[in-house]
Symmetry: D2
Subunit: 366 residues, 4 copies
């Protein structure tokens, strides 16, 4: 299957490899009339950009985005919006020591078995660099949501063994690990520095909250809002787990504790707790949507590892080059992007749910 | 969006409500030539059927399946296979005490906000009964996989606070909780009996293993095999979390421990560990595929709960009727079904990945 | 690919064979709140039903429809609507003389090459009987459109060499050939009687007009309204040509004649002519949508024909059994159905085209 | 709906406007291992390029294509192939006289009603220039087909009142009108010269033949091969009619004449005639696939025409600028492209039709 398309009404298709000419995405189905310029997108790409701290690869990429289509006189026209990010720093690398070996924890072997050969330069399409295209598309989705009063924020909830104790969204924008807890961020930095010394890498958990989502959005039974979010988030490289609301903790709870009682507050239906994470039966209930993604440790480590070559023989491998010791801080904005894309798609798909509203909508014409 | 379709090359569409005339599914894209009779499907439905132990609802449903199309002279023809399961025991219930109130933990409120009204009889389309259609389709997918040497097995990994200590697949078919550990099953039964006494309910975790899956299957970047599995599993009612391989544990590991070293065994590439759960970069690597689903406690409990009515006023609710104190044992076969459907779809989608194989395939014709 | 699904937001999946247990369709994405009962659907099926005149097969089928799901208290709920039409008169036939031969003009050979074997009973899935499921789904689409002031009417424009000279929609419901011109209908009847005497069959053209369609609907560049209509209509068995507006005549016209000048009438933008058939650039322009489908002659004729058997050897074939000498009269309602399904899908898909309207739509919630 | 995606297994998404930065397409699902360079694509774009004769717009565009991704060491990798064609000559135009008026025969009014505003520069997304992206993607599809022995050729069958009398494919590459008949080409040139003098435009019919297509490909009932071809071809701007095989002529034929008798030739099943155009019941039968597209006259003519402005008032319009007096010659390669894309998608989708072949395919792994 052609696996580089996501979404139905708001639909994106990405392309590009780590060491090719560039990365890009086309967004189809973006509503007309959204004010949009390159800077709107660039600020999100800058959050994902490498080289911003000791904990991200030293690769030097401007990640400058160019809008190729779909915008006229500063507004989206409703036609496809193509975005291009050219690679700058992709030529110098020597891959001779890994080009015929399968890196453990990487997609190399799967790509080789599937396609018969592979682009060994920096992982090709399975590089983390692929997510730049997701972020570019996500920036547009985030701007659409903001125009409707819906906001999406993600942060690092844990890094290796270090968990946050508080959520200060402001703080999450200040420290290089995107942790919303200054104390935890310091501990995590110390932990990561030790990882680097050990030629090792770490994982972590990203949490994402969407506020302002109206109730009644989601498409049971297979395109439930949480099912679509799960696909969106699990499709990000290195994600091995997904939770909505209390997630795995709910499995150990009881119905009386886990059920969120409905109540009325200022004339509006709300819930007294939010174990469900804003989605029940696959449909939003108007509460905050809360999800989490578990990121595995960066598979590229500089220690020697056991592996196998394309010739089917065992051989040791040592991976040189620039690699993040942890994926999480740069992945935070990717989780926001994929969440936002999924929400916009669900909102647009939902507009035809009631006949009276469809009739009213087209009544403008009749 | 029309949310009742799943899959691309092997595509299913389900229908039906808990208290309507019945449930069903149409499977489109099933390869021609699979021997298929109703008994092949019935045996899977029987595993999901209510009324089989003290821990499942007393509702009396034969769940007898009828094949309406797509099979001729005992074999699938390649055309759509429609399966119908008529409801038998759906008429007697009195819903007057809940028909205008939103049950906590249920989809009632979301359906009401989305569609403007709702089928209050037993949850309508958001009832667990909807999964019967998934199991019926899954039975066919499981039979296809078996013909290729691929086998899917799920079981209860935990129920409430009780976790298994061993995996004895045979045992999982013997106890009513589908736990592959007789001792844990006994403890879980005692725990559930206490839950029932407390008018409460419990959750749990289902684990599923697929063996024999060839390497090289999955469609990056959005239709990665684990991303599609995540959507498939998260779309099952009451699932709040999904993991592949080590899942959330991977987030606390290090690269050196989490990477699965490649090795050669009997001339075949394999990995020395399987933290990845058989999928790397969204493509199968030939190892066992291992996934987990976290099920929340059954939301329907007989204790009085706080809620709100359709009139927007707070009101207490007491839910009568037949409800499982735990979803997990009956969900085990649903997880197998959704896993199998996803794997078959991926296998069929993958056949055009290499030009040389496409040319060879059609060479039979040329 | 799974080819039995059509539409995106309003999506149908059909199943069933001529001589299996029955035919059916599931409609997913039907807006909630449409009053619907079996009689709403039955009256359209009755128009397609066999045995109604000398020009349709004598097969005796009640074609009684059963609504299996998606309707509660007389209204659609927004969940999938499954419709089942059981076959009654499918058992008696003797197919021994054709079961291993390929009928000329039929899908037999293609099915055999694709699937390795085929359901030879009455054509199986490629029987004209398959269209009953389309008509059932179309009845719902037609009812949705009517609630919005959009009406779809089709009729026979020509039968064999006989063309209509006027369009009297009322007349089209009175004669067995669905021709909107009583004089032409008589001539066509005489022509068909001669065809029957000659053991031969005839073709014809169906024209369909949709009135009341709002301007601004359609999704360039690949899901243009006319492109989707073309797929819908060409997917009906025996259709070999499709036209929108002037169709092939436009190819011989000039720009100055073929362009429809815009004008203002009663404060509304309209066009002075309608060569375009209501669609420009793939988007409706508010004028009547006019399309035509060319139906080939019924391939089943009772004359002996040359053909080949499954063993690859030439052999003569004589097709016995009940066959319409012309497909057109029974196809008229099928064309209406597929047109209506396509229009509803386009209308629902179009609601998110402008950001200001999306914001206003969800403003009800915020 | 997002309407800029076409295909399922071989899936393309296009973007770009006539007067924006450029046009492009991403091809997802292209099998790995196809040798591909920019010249392979350029030669098809050159056939569509403006400024090549007196009968095409004088706009000066190199239409130089850049491959942005998906190719490594001269071969496709199986990942998305992005192609970019930058506009060169898009800046100078003065649109002040049409920017607030709806051009008759154009998509202006529909775009305005759908999106609330429009890109008035040269038609934006509804410009014929959009087809460059189709041709670029089609060049890849054509190369895939050629590797399998399948060849696609289109030519002008008629221009205005001038019809061809013979099909000399070689001749079609020599004259500027792509007519496979030198004498007809001369007459058509004289006719077009008169059109230009009259400040008018002309239409015509393009015919396309695909040879070498294996039998058994196509996905009934909605994704029949001819239904998908119809959508593909009708989605090309200015196409108003589509035929497969005898098309509308079949409607006036009889079964005994229209049925193609099967026969055996050199041990292969074939048909004695090809009225069906290579497709029966939506599945290829191994004969040549023959289709036709009716193109309306270019709507942009320099005569004054009646129209309406965005303010809803009647106003005359005179369209200046560079416009082809006929679309057909440049559309020939677009028809080839869309045909090839549809065939490749169908071939890839078809590989899982038989279980025995699926098992054999994956047997390489087991």
């Amino acid at each position: 299957m052609a696996g580089s398309v996501f979404g139905n009404q708001f639909r994106i298709m990405t392309f590009g490899e780590s060491h090719g000419k560039g990365l890009g995405v086309t967004i189809d189905g973006c509503p007309a009339g959204l004010p949009l310029c390159e800077e709107d997108i660039q600020k999100f790409l800058d959050r994902r950009k490498p080289g911003q701290s000791a904990f991200t690869t030293a690769r030097n990429e401007a990640d400058a985005v160019e809008i190729l289509s779909g915008v006229f006189e500063g507004k989206t026209t409703g036609t496809p919006i193509a975005l291009l990010i050219r690679n700058k720093d992709q030529h110098s690398k020597d891959y001779s020591n890994i080009c015929d070996k399968f890196r453990p924890g990487h997609a190399d072997y799967g790509f080789f078995k599937k396609f018969g050969f592979r682009d060994y330069r920096g992982g090709g399409r399975s590089s983390g660099r692929e997510t730049a295209a997701r972020v570019a598309a996500g920036a547009i989705a985030i701007k659409i949501l903001a125009s409707m009063g819906i906001f999406v924020h993600a942060y690092a909830k844990s890094i290796g063994p270090v968990h946050i104790s508080e959520v200060d969204l402001d703080e999450a924008t200040k420290n290089p690990l995107c942790m919303p807890d200054a104390k935890a961020a310091k501990e995590a930095q110390a932990f990561l520095e030790e990882c680097i010394r050990q030629q090792d890498s770490a994982g972590g958990v990203v949490e994402c909250i969407a506020t302002g989502m109206p109730a009644g959005v989601g498409d049971p039974v297979f395109s439930k809002l949480d099912a679509n979010l799960a696909q969106a988030i699990m499709s990000i490289g290195a994600v091995k787990g997904f939770e909505i609301g209390d997630g795995f903790l709910a499995a150990a709870s009881t119905g009386s504790k886990n059920n969120d009682a409905f109540a009325v507050e200022k004339g509006k239906v709300t819930t007294l707790t939010n174990h469900a994470g804003g989605i029940l039966g696959g449909i939003s209930n108007g509460e905050d949507i809360i999800l989490r993604a578990a990121f595995k440790p960066t598979p590229s480590i500089s220690r020697e590892q056991r592996t196998v070559g394309e010739d089917g023989k065992e051989i040791p491998i040592t991976i040189h080059g620039r690699h993040d010791p942890i994926i999480v801080p740069r992945a935070v904005v990717v989780v926001e992007a994929m969440t936002a894309i999924t929400l916009v798609d669900a909102l647009l798909s939902n507009m035809g749910a009631r006949l009276d509203e469809v009739i009213k909508f087209y009544g403008r014409e009749l």
